[in-house]
């Protein structure tokens, strides 16, 4: 793939001519639907996965705490008098009062992942969408929704890619502190779709997969903490197009737990 930015600059026509750009026009046209698609899927996945894993905590949760006390009277004489133990004859659990003031709170339960289109989004969106529409309605375009080739490609497993992966891993490794100890360690595997800004900060983070157990939820939190804590990521700026999206970013603690 040719280097897009340099071509954009060299191919830009003189101001005022209004000519469509010849070589880079396709680039944003393909990029936009893909971007919209991914964002659409990401939003859908948030509602499907994130929503339940990170559901707002139950807030009307009162726990009976007045149950167990030591009796004052015992037929065994204590050597030291018990320090003023509360005697609580009422063993009924406390009613569960609502917590309205907390429910009404505007504080966010989970920050909606940031889905602003990145700064380098193609200009003249409307025209691009029209172009796109034209393209999409062409009869030769396959319109099957279950086409198999639609999954995210991991990219060619070249040495270049593995260098990038190593560079990313060397950073996130220091920030990731998985919680050990789930009975089924596979419950602690989680994966994310991570979008990065050119400066290496997190643009958007979407949870793709986590087990529907307390361990899965805790593991998702641990992964998210690692991702945010480690930013900005130091990766070669000239290869931004290769690392702007890391998907799937998978955390698997099983090997660590065996040690």
């Amino acid at each position: 793939m040719p280097s897009a930015p340099s071509q954009t600059i060299s191919a830009r026509p003189p101001l005022g001519r209004g000519r469509p750009r010849p070589t880079t026009a396709r680039q944003p046209v393909l990029g936009l639907p893909a971007s919209l698609l991914l964002h659409g899927m990401a939003i859908a996945s948030i509602f499907l996965v994130f929503n339940s894993s990170f559901a707002p905590p139950q807030e009307s949760h009162a726990v009976p705490v007045e149950l167990v006390t030591l009796a004052r009277q015992t037929n065994v004489e204590a050597a030291a008098p018990p320090p003023d133990q509360p005697v609580k004859p009422d063993l009924a659990p406390l009613p569960a009062p609502p917590m309205p003031e907390i429910k009404a709170e505007p504080a966010p339960d989970i920050q909606p992942p940031k889905f602003e289109i990145r700064k380098e989004k193609p200009p003249d969106t409307r025209q691009d969408i029209s172009n796109l529409l034209n393209q999409l309605t062409r009869p030769e375009k396959p319109a099957k929704s279950n086409a198999p080739a639609a999954t995210q490609s991991a990219g060619p497993a070249t040495a270049m890619t593995s260098t990038l992966i190593d560079a990313f891993l060397s950073q996130i490794r220091n920030c990731w502190s998985p919680i050990a100890g789930a009975p089924n360690p596979a419950d602690q595997i989680v994966s994310f779709d991570l979008r990065l800004n050119p400066d290496g900060t997190v643009a958007a983070l979407t949870l793709l997969e986590a087990s529907r157990t307390p361990y899965g939820s805790a593991a998702a939190q641990a992964g998210s903490r690692a991702i945010y804590q480690c930013q900005p990521y130091r990766l070669p700026p000239e290869r931004y197009k290769d690392w702007r999206e890391i998907n799937p970013l998978r955390f698997d603690p099983r090997r660590m737990m065996q040690q």
Binding site: L36, L37, V68, A79, A80, Q111, S145, S177, S224, W243
Partner: protein, 434 residues
């Protein structure tokens, strides 16, 4: 606008057919296990809180710090203070001190005299609330509420139930080595509120909680004869368990609390029996001429692990609860005893005696995966936290040094001394208090 919507809907329809942007896939399999830095400012007192707001926050800091999974930050390092727990905190001010978690809380005295304790747990980097709960209680129970807050935070972060709102029954030892006075005692998991249950005029050993933490079974030499007794914490009543002619010891409640497995000695031969606490019917499970003792139930109540020297040395065996299917599971070095089944069912903890050393280890119920987790030279008698992640045990000092209670997690990390009044041994962890 219509055109745009149409285009978008078409895109949505055709979306799966479009090639997606190239993304790299990354598998993270190595991390850096570190305690989670967490900021826990003093809770906010709303009205007259009786000083509980600061005290509760301190207990939460102590609980979480002791777990080894959290690292509570020094409040002196805070650059922000919480003025209202019902608004989102300024996360940037907590990132400055590298806090990854933040706990805000409030303590208020209700008109009916009860205490209302509310807290929120925040993900500082994700800028979101992870948990928010409130508790109501009598003011004298402020410590328990603090432990419940700790348990809730622990559970949200680890996915495991906490263990802070629990108690430990143990044997308190005082006096010179030749004339040791042993008293039955209980304390909170953090060592607070220690209470002696017996006076120490007769020897007591191997106390065990029942599943409601209301009753303790133990062995005592009342009248000079070693027998198993039950102590009811609610009423303070004590009773002898069963009317056996000979020595009974090593009691352990079944997971449903309705039965007790124990060892009965008869002419030098010890075997394991089960007594139904309702009918008082007794069933014999082993009839081997060797010493069979130290029974412990699987959490489903279907199996019992015990120790026996029937093979020549003391080793660990498992049988069904009707006594059938007895088979040896420990084949490692040395002698292995005092097995205790984890409340989670996945592991059995035990004491290994090898080369003059006593150490705590764990293995799977089929005997595989044996690993040692304590580092002392005389550690014995493990007991599980109700979440199956942490163990306490007795560490005997060298020479005349006093016995102490220690704890360690199931991976052998975070080994630490448990505060107790004086010398203490034979701990047994209660279930989560209900």
């Amino acid at each position: 606008m219509k055109k745009l919507l149409l285009a978008l809907s078409l895109i949505a329809l055709l979306a799966p057919a479009l090639p997606a942007a190239a993304a790299i896939a990354v598998d993270v399999t190595q991390g850096n296990i570190q305690p989670l830095p967490i900021a826990i400012p003093d809770f906010l007192p709303a009205g007259n809180d009786g000083g509980n707001a600061a005290r509760i926050a301190q207990v939460v800091r102590d609980d979480l710090g002791r777990s080894g999974i959290f690292r509570p930050l020094d409040p002196k390092s805070f650059v922000d203070h919480i003025a209202n727990i019902n608004t989102a905190p300024n996360f940037a001010n907590w990132r400055v001190i590298n806090a990854q978690g933040l706990v805000t809380g409030e303590v208020a005295q209700m008109p009916d005299g009860r205490l209302r304790v509310a807290f929120r747990l925040w993900d500082v980097y994700g800028q979101s609330q992870m948990d928010g709960q409130q508790f109501f209680t009598q003011p004298q129970n402020w410590r328990r509420v603090a432990h419940m807050v700790s348990d809730a935070i622990y559970e949200r972060v680890t996915g495991e139930k906490g263990y802070f709102d629990t108690r430990i029954v143990f044997i308190s030892e005082t006096g010179p080595a030749q004339n040791r006075v042993k008293k039955l005692a209980v304390m909170d998991e953090d060592g607070a509120n220690p209470i002696f249950l017996t006076k120490g005029d007769y020897m007591v050993l191997t106390p065990r909680f029942n599943p409601t933490a209301q009753m303790i079974a133990y062995m005592s030499y009342i009248n000079g004869k070693p027998r198993v007794y039950l102590f009811d914490l609610e009423t303070g009543k004590q009773e002898r368990l069963g009317d056996f002619p000979n020595m009974t010891f090593s009691p352990r409640f079944s997971p449903d609390g309705n039965r007790v497995a124990l060892t009965l000695e008869n002419n030098g031969n010890s075997d394991i029996y089960v007594m139904d606490l309702r009918s008082r019917a007794v069933t014999r499970l082993t009839s081997d001429p060797a010493i069979d003792t130290a029974p412990s139930w699987s959490p489903d109540g279907r199996q019992i692990v015990f120790e026996s020297d029937r093979g020549g040395t003391q080793q660990i065996y498992v049988m069904n609860v009707d006594g059938s299917g007895q088979h040896r599971i420990s084949f490692g070095a040395g002698r292995n005893g005092t097995p205790v089944w984890s409340p989670r069912g996945d592991l059995i903890a035990f004491t290994k005696q090898d080369g003059g050393k006593f150490d705590i280890g764990v293995m799977r119920p089929d005997g595989s995966g044996e690993r040692m987790i304590s580092t002392g030279s005389h550690d014995e008698g493990p007991t599980w936290a109700p979440n199956g992640r942490v163990l306490m045990f007795t560490r005997q000092g060298r020479g005349a040094e006093q016995a102490q209670i220690w704890e360690v997690d199931v991976f052998g990390r975070n080994e630490r001394h448990v505060a107790s009044p004086g010398s203490a041994s034979d701990p047994a962890w209660s279930p989560l208090i209900q």
